[in-house]
């Protein structure tokens, strides 16, 4: 039962509960029109304390397509925060106007703090470098949509594995399924943090770490690319050195299986050459659309309006 629950971390839901959300998303994808009034009369508050285009638009669009309404801000300077209000007080106040709160905040743990102070569901839309669980739901829905399964997969994860929160969340969540094999492809400086790898080891999940994308390509069912994030670096020089380490090109795509899919949480900088966009295996823009359906399903489940 997901009604009135919060989604703060990607592992908050059991695999069965995730499946429940993904199954509903499938139904919405099959017939979106029949859900266009599902949330009529409901209000979603989206509190974005730091810039976001796609996640905010995705939630807003999801709620509108369900017939509900949205309110909120995307610039904290226009909210009571500018007057020194605490996060807990902001949450308590906003909860009086809304049925569901979506929050993005640069500080880690903000969504959890909000969830402790309100009696409506809270969805974490990103808390600093910590969690971004709806991106994980998006990724799972995309994988299931194209591969028709979430088990028995070889998943390559490439790019900034050190700071990429979406990647940590995805790997942690995917590793709960059976027979997952990971290839972590990154420069040594941006390799997967030990808290992720030690958890995989403890659970007996197979993984390899490499800095050779070409060698890893032929075995992959999924290649998940990620951006080297400028904002996570203190040194501009270090960022410039590492940002072009891996670029996926049409030439490299020749090494991949015919049914491999390329995913990316976006925005992309230059880690995927635009020539790859026309390859039918490049699904990253479709992933954005599926993310909206995943959020529609999540909103419905947490509001109990199915």
């Amino acid at each position: 039962m997901l009604k009135d629950r919060h989604l703060i971390a990607p592992t908050d839901f059991t695999l069965e509960e995730i499946d429940e959300v993904l199954c509903l998303a499938d139904k919405i994808i099959a017939d979106p029109q029949s859900f266009s009034n599902a949330c009529r009369g409901k209000v979603l508050a989206s509190l974005f304390y730091e810039p976001s285009t796609r996640t905010k638009f995705s939630f807003d669009s999801a709620m509108m397509r369900l017939g509900g309404s949205t309110l909120g801000f995307s610039d904290p300077n226009t909210s009571s925060v500018a007057k020194g209000e605490t996060v807990a007080d902001s949450a308590r106040t906003v909860a009086q106007y809304s049925d569901l709160i979506v929050v993005r905040h640069p500080k880690e743990g903000t969504a959890k703090l909000m969830s402790q102070n309100v009696n409506c569901p809270v969805i974490n839309a990103g808390d600093g470098g910590h969690h971004h669980p709806t991106q994980t739901l998006t990724d799972l829905l995309t994988i299931r949509h194209y591969k028709h399964r979430l088990s028995d997969l070889t998943v390559g994860v490439c790019g900034d594995l050190k700071f990429g929160r979406t990647i940590h969340s995805l790997v942690t969540c995917l590793s709960r399924y059976k027979n997952l094999n990971f290839r972590f492809i990154s420069p040594v400086e941006l390799s997967m943090p030990s808290y992720v790898t030690s958890e995989l080891k403890a659970r007996g999940v197979e993984f390899e770490q490499t800095s050779n994308l070409e060698a890893a390509m032929p075995k992959l069912d999924i290649l998940y690319m990620s951006r080297v994030q400028r904002e996570r670096f203190i040194s501009e020089e270090e960022y410039m050195r590492l940002k072009d380490f891996f670029v996926l090109t049409a030439e490299k795509m020749k090494l991949a299986k015919n049914d491999m899919i390329v995913m990316h949480p976006l925005p992309r900088v230059n880690e995927i050459a635009t020539e790859v966009d026309n390859d039918p295996r490049a699904v990253y823009f479709e992933q954005v659309r599926l993310g909206m359906y995943a959020r529609m399903a999540l909103i419905m489940k947490l509001l109990g309006v199915e």
Binding site: V87, H105, K107, E108, G109, T110, L113, D127, G128
Partner: protein, 140 residues
């Protein structure tokens, strides 16, 4: 030299690192007990040089696990009819509330100056606890 009479019935917390006794007194909420409680500070000790010591005249069983966070090497003895009848070994509590502070500057608990943050035990050997908000580990 101050002499405190021998305890007839109660609990003795001994071998407390000098200076830590008052912290333990506060954490155990001993000021809220109606019974006789003695806190001795800077007592001469063969093992420690100086030590603190607490004597509590009670037959209640108190939850001492929290003391493991302050000084896991203390000795806790139960006394009945003037005789030691049992000893307790400390183990770190599974969760602690309001004692630790998250060291992650990006954690919301620091921005909002939250008291009563819950930390869960991650590594009993290394006495490592994770913050409920950001999951970052804090070692004692």
């Amino acid at each position: 030299m101050i002499n405190v009479s021998k305890l007839r019935e109660g609990i003795v917390i001994d071998h407390i690192r000098a200076g830590q006794g008052y912290k333990m007194f506060q954490q155990l909420g001993l000021d809220k007990l109606d019974c006789v409680v003695v806190l001795m500070r800077n007592v001469d000790s063969k093992r420690l040089g100086k030590k603190d010591l607490i004597k509590i005249e009670t037959n209640l069983d108190l939850d001492f696990n929290v003391l493991g966070l302050i000084d896991p090497n203390v000795t806790i003895s139960y006394v009945k009819d003037g005789m030691q009848v049992g000893k307790k070994k400390l183990s770190p509590p599974d969760k602690v509330v309001g004692i630790l502070k998250c060291k992650n500057p990006l954690c919301i608990s620091n921005q909002e100056h939250l008291d009563n943050v819950t930390f869960r035990l991650i590594d009993p050997e290394g006495l490592s606890y994770a913050c409920e908000y950001c999951d970052k580990q804090t070692q004692l």
